[in-house]
């Protein structure tokens, strides 16, 4: 949700690309192959593109050789296909989709209303556009009366379960909650209420589309209390694209149709609905409501230039994170696989209904609570049922795995790993380093998603003696409610031009992100802790690592409510405890929630890889292949690490092993294509990528690379096809904008080229932005190490290391 009760997890990793300290985040964002291309590729397109992005050039470099359409060389293309869902994934369609109303004249009442609103409406953002800098649209493309939206109580007369759930859910409270109002009030009071249309396109669509967000508003705002009411979501007729910021098109709200399927606007007597429930269903339901693209309309956001007066910046995109996750089955490059699951599959699960609900099927109803991570809002309103269900949701699903994977004892070379599988000896006064691996195992988006500047998840790590006395503690809550600033937190730090953390969600002031330690879906974070076992401890210590979550940072809650608010809930998401004996430790059986050993090594390898520690990653993945010699992905992971490390011959050998085990592995084929490119085996490269695209038509990475391959083969037409297909998957892809700008120009399509050039320039990174991040990190040494991929959490002062300056 854009601009929310806490929103904006600004993710503009490309802005940081020139800084090595942010390479981890960059890689997560642009995927492995982009990093690979960004290095020493000798081919024009990838080099030119990569250079442009890395250096943040403010102009469009031109290719060095002419490209023309080569009809004779064209191959059969693989056009992008709309996502098709296997039958097992679709519920039986029990209604006929209603025909959207044709774009006709507004009815007299609406026209009169719109004319009246228009007289005093502030169109300063763009003349004639009622929602910019948001993207909300309504059929008829003009203001609509708030009264045109039947309210939730009208729907709740019959849909009692839905109403009951919705009233406690974040969607119904999307506008009124103080956590949102505090944020949006700052926009209104500093920039002007018209800029709040950016936020309210998702938080208060009726407010935007009725023309209420203007200085001289004539709109009765009684609908504010219902936020996203039934007839906002259930009136959406179309998704503009997956650009977000409220990229939906509402129809004039209707709760039934006539016999011919024409929507009948406004409320109708209940008897009419009961007489024709199928007409009701076709007025208020659309098949695409069950797709992730529907959610993308709001769960993807950017900060456009009209809002920040600076440039386009990605805010957050839970949708793209899902699309890149194993749950979408659209990305061949994920480390693990899973059954296809949509946003709704997790956040709108069916459960038995307790109240009358005509929408229920076989006694179950899809959740209209949208259980997720929103604990602050039900806590504030006293919605205990919602709060408990939210907490239960957060703890369900095996979403995270916490693994105290290994120990390193100072003075000993060998790593004791994986813990529990082999004996080891520990002594009093030992200085111990613990390697904790946090796996984002079954979340379909990052940990944490969306508004990373406000949400708070972190690792709490404790070491205690057998009497319960604390030996080491990281990630504690201080007496004032603030989190230990040296905790390892899965968060980011957006900063403004003064190098100051944007604490109060003034998103339009954000110019850079100092660091982003969130864990992408399916990946793992490796966190290191160091502690010393006291000399007096003679029996054992217990070590606990847990991931905690608080909906909102304490300082933000303080901003909203003042410091005298009650403590807001902190939820333990996952944890693991191990007992370490002083003396001999024998192997111990795994806990129920523990991953198998090969996966533990695999996750460690992923953690090392993301921290650019290639040698350690290779070792970890080699352990995977020892334990699972049949596991093709183990060799692919080795190949991937080799590519990252620029050991291309080794990569080739490992990928060959992977393909021998599984010739249809799209992941191995993809990386093999990159190697083929490196070896100038252009035809093999294209053949591999084409196979990947055939298997995964919605793989943005494969489309991008295939486009580049065709470009390099001077095949303009096929290159354009791939980049255009890529844009249907991700309309913000920089490589697509960049390469299409060149390709269109060379194909004589000047207007299209101009548009793509403009989009590239708009969306590309400001090369000056990282300076604000560095400014922030310089001012905050207490957390600056969090921006370093490899860092250690320790209370032990190592004077000798500090004094040596790294010279001995």
């Amino acid at each position: 949700m854009p601009c929310a009760e806490g929103y904006w997890s600004i993710v503009s990793p490309l802005a940081l690309q020139s800084s090595t300290i942010h390479k981890q985040q960059v890689r997560q964002k642009v995927q492995m192959e982009m990093d690979h291309n960004a290095r020493k590729s000798r081919w024009v397109v990838s080099l030119v593109f990569s250079t442009a992005v890395v250096a943040g050039l403010s102009f469009l470099p031109l290719g060095t050789h002419a490209i023309s359409a080569q009809a004779g060389q064209q191959q059969e293309s693989v056009p992008a296909q709309p996502q098709t869902y296997p039958d097992r994934r679709i519920e039986r369609q029990e209604y006929i989709q209603a025909e959207p109303q044709p774009k006709t004249e507004l009815n007299a009442e609406r026209k009169e209303y719109a004319d009246k609103v228009r007289q005093s409406y502030n169109f300063s953002v763009m003349k004639g556009n009622i929602s910019l800098p948001g993207n909300a649209e309504v059929e008829g493309d003009d203001f609509i009366q708030p009264g045109a939206f039947p309210n939730a109580k009208y729907c709740g007369h019959c849909h009692q379960e839905a109403y009951h759930q919705w009233r406690q859910a974040l969607h119904s409270n999307s506008f009124r909650t103080p956590f949102y109002r505090t944020s949006v009030n700052i926009v209104m009071n500093t920039k002007g209420i018209q800029f709040a249309r950016h936020c309210d396109s998702c938080h208060n669509p009726i407010g935007v589309l009725s023309g209420g967000l203007t200085q001289e508003s004539i709109v009765d705002r009684k609908f504010d209390q219902d936020g996203l009411t039934c007839t906002t979501c259930h009136s959406v007729q179309k998704i503009q694209s997956t650009i977000g910021n409220g990229a939906y098109v509402l129809g004039v709200p209707a709760v039934t149709t006539d016999a011919a399927g024409k929507r009948i606007p406004g409320e109708v007597p209940y008897a009419d609905i009961l007489a024709h429930p199928d007409w009701h269903a076709r007025a208020v339901m659309q098949p695409f409501y069950r797709t992730p693209e529907f959610c993308a309309a709001c769960h993807k956001a950017n900060l456009p230039t009209p809002l920040n007066g600076y440039k386009w910046i990605r805010a957050f995109t839970a949708y793209d994170e899902w699309q890149n996750s194993k749950f979408s089955q659209r990305n061949p490059l994920t480390f693990y696989s899973a059954d296809f699951t949509t946003c709704q599959g997790c956040h709108m699960k069916r459960a038995p209904n307790t109240l009358p609900e005509p929408g229920a099927k076989n006694g179950t109803f899809v959740s209209h609570r949208w259980e997720a991570g929103n604990t602050a809002v039900p806590f504030y309103y006293g919605f205990d049922e919602q709060l408990q269900k939210t907490i239960a949701f957060l703890r369900s699903g095996n979403y995270l795995n916490v693994d105290i994977f290994a120990l390193k004892i100072a003075g000993q070379d060998e790593m004791i790993a994986p813990l529990g599988t082999r004996p080891f000896k520990l002594q009093s006064s030992d200085v111990v380093q613990a390697l904790v691996v946090i796996q984002n195992k079954n979340i379909g988006h990052s940990l944490i998603p969306e508004v990373r500047d406000l949400y708070e998840a972190w690792v709490e790590f404790m070491v205690k003696d057998s009497a319960g006395k604390e030996i080491y503690h990281s990630g504690f809550i201080k007496p004032d409610g603030m989190l230990d600033e040296r905790a390892h937190s899965f968060t980011n730090r957006p900063v403004n031009t003064d190098g100051v953390f944007v604490d109060n969600h003034k998103v339009w002031t954000i110019h850079s992100v100092a660091y982003d330690n969130t864990v992408a879906a399916g990946r793992s974070a490796l966190v290191r802790y160091e502690f010393k076992i006291p000399a007096e401890v003679k029996d054992a210590v217990t070590v606990t690592a847990r991931v905690n979550y608080r909906h909102l940072r304490q300082s933000y809650t303080n901003n909203v409510l003042g410091k005298d608010h009650p403590d807001y809930p902190i939820v333990e998401l996952a944890s693991r405890t191990r007992t370490l004996k002083i003396g001999d430790n024998l192997p111990t059986p795994p806990d129920t929630g523990d991953n198998s050993d090969w996966m533990r090594w695999n996750n460690l390898g992923i953690g090392f890889l993301d921290q650019l520690q290639y040698s350690d990653a290779i070792h970890a993945f080699q352990e995977v292949t020892k334990l699972r010699p049949d596991y093709a992905d183990g060799f692919t992971n080795l190949g991937l690490t080799d590519i990252e490390w620029e050991k291309f011959s080794d990569a080739h050998a490992n990928l060959e092993k992977a393909l021998k085990l599984n010739p249809e592995s799209a992941r191995a084929l993809y990386y093999m294509a990159l190697i083929e490119r490196r070896f100038s085996h252009s035809e093999a490269e294209v053949a591999d990528l084409r196979k990947v695209v055939e298997m995964y038509p919605q793989s943005r990475d494969a489309r991008r690379e295939l486009g580049i391959s065709y470009y390099q083969q001077d095949n303009t037409k096929l290159a354009i096809e791939q980049f255009e297909a890529l844009q249907t998957i991700d309309s913000d892809d920089l490589a697509a904008h960049y390469n299409l700008a060149i390709l269109y120009r060379r194909a004589g399509m000047k207007e299209k080229a101009k548009r793509e050039s403009a989009m590239f320039v708009t969306k590309k990174v400001d090369p000056g932005a990282p300076t604000y991040s560095l400014d922030f990190l310089r001012k905050h040494p207490e957390i600056s190490t969090e921006s370093v991929p490899w860092h250690l959490h320790s209370d032990l002062v190592q004077e000798s290391t500090i004094q040596s300056g790294g010279q001995n």
């Binding site: 506008f175 009124r176 103080p178 109002r181 505090t182 009030n185 200085q215 001289e216 508003s217 004539i218 709109v219 009765d220 705002r221 009684k222 504010d224 209390q225 504030y380 309103y381 006293g382 909203v560 409510l561 003042g562 005298d564 608010h565």
Partner: protein, 167 residues
């Protein structure tokens, strides 16, 4: 010619100043349309600045004795913990605590000897208190008649909006 031009610009400037200064100031807490929606018609509005930051808004509907009034008084408190008690004490002991309106809120009803009802919500948002009063006579041609539940729903929604503006 020059003198005429000067006079023109002087007049133009005066007109501009007059138009700006005469422009009606809007209530910062809720707009007149929302107040009118609650009271049930087109309202007249009056604003009083009680301090540099604080404004009291009054919306009226009706004439003579047949008038419904919605008043929103906002006060910035130097010592919220103590000062808010005095604002809250304007509600009788029968006050109902409310959740979800500001940091804290209470609602109470009083009816005077003439039968005039005052429904009141006193609430706090950080260091600011507001008192929302809805006063209406026993009955009247121009006054919207609401059930008790409707009245409470409406005034609580209004209070939520005022609190929202103060956050």
């Amino acid at each position: 010619m020059m003198s005429a031009l000067k006079t023109f610009w002087a007049m133009f400037g005066l007109l501009l100043i007059a138009s700006v200064s005469c422009r009606a100031e809007n209530c910062p807490w809720i707009n007149a349309a929302t107040a009118g929606g609650a009271l049930g018609g087109t309202v007249t509005a009056k604003l009083v600045h009680t301090s540099r930051e604080d404004v009291t808004c009054e919306f009226r509907l009706g004439r003579g004795n047949d008038v419904a009034i919605l008043e929103i008084a906002v006060h910035t408190m130097g010592s919220p913990a103590q000062d808010f008690q005095s604002y809250r004490s304007t509600c009788s002991s029968a006050a109902t605590p409310l959740r979800g309106i500001g940091n804290e809120a209470t609602e109470c009803t009083s009816i005077d000897q003439r039968g005039t009802t005052t429904e009141q919500i006193v609430a706090r948002v950080r260091d600011r208190a507001f008192i929302l009063k809805w006063t209406f006579p026993p009955a009247g041609d121009s006054i919207r008649v609401l059930s008790r539940d409707e009245l409470q729903d409406t005034i609580r929604n209004l209070a939520e909006q005022v609190a929202g503006s103060l956050f």
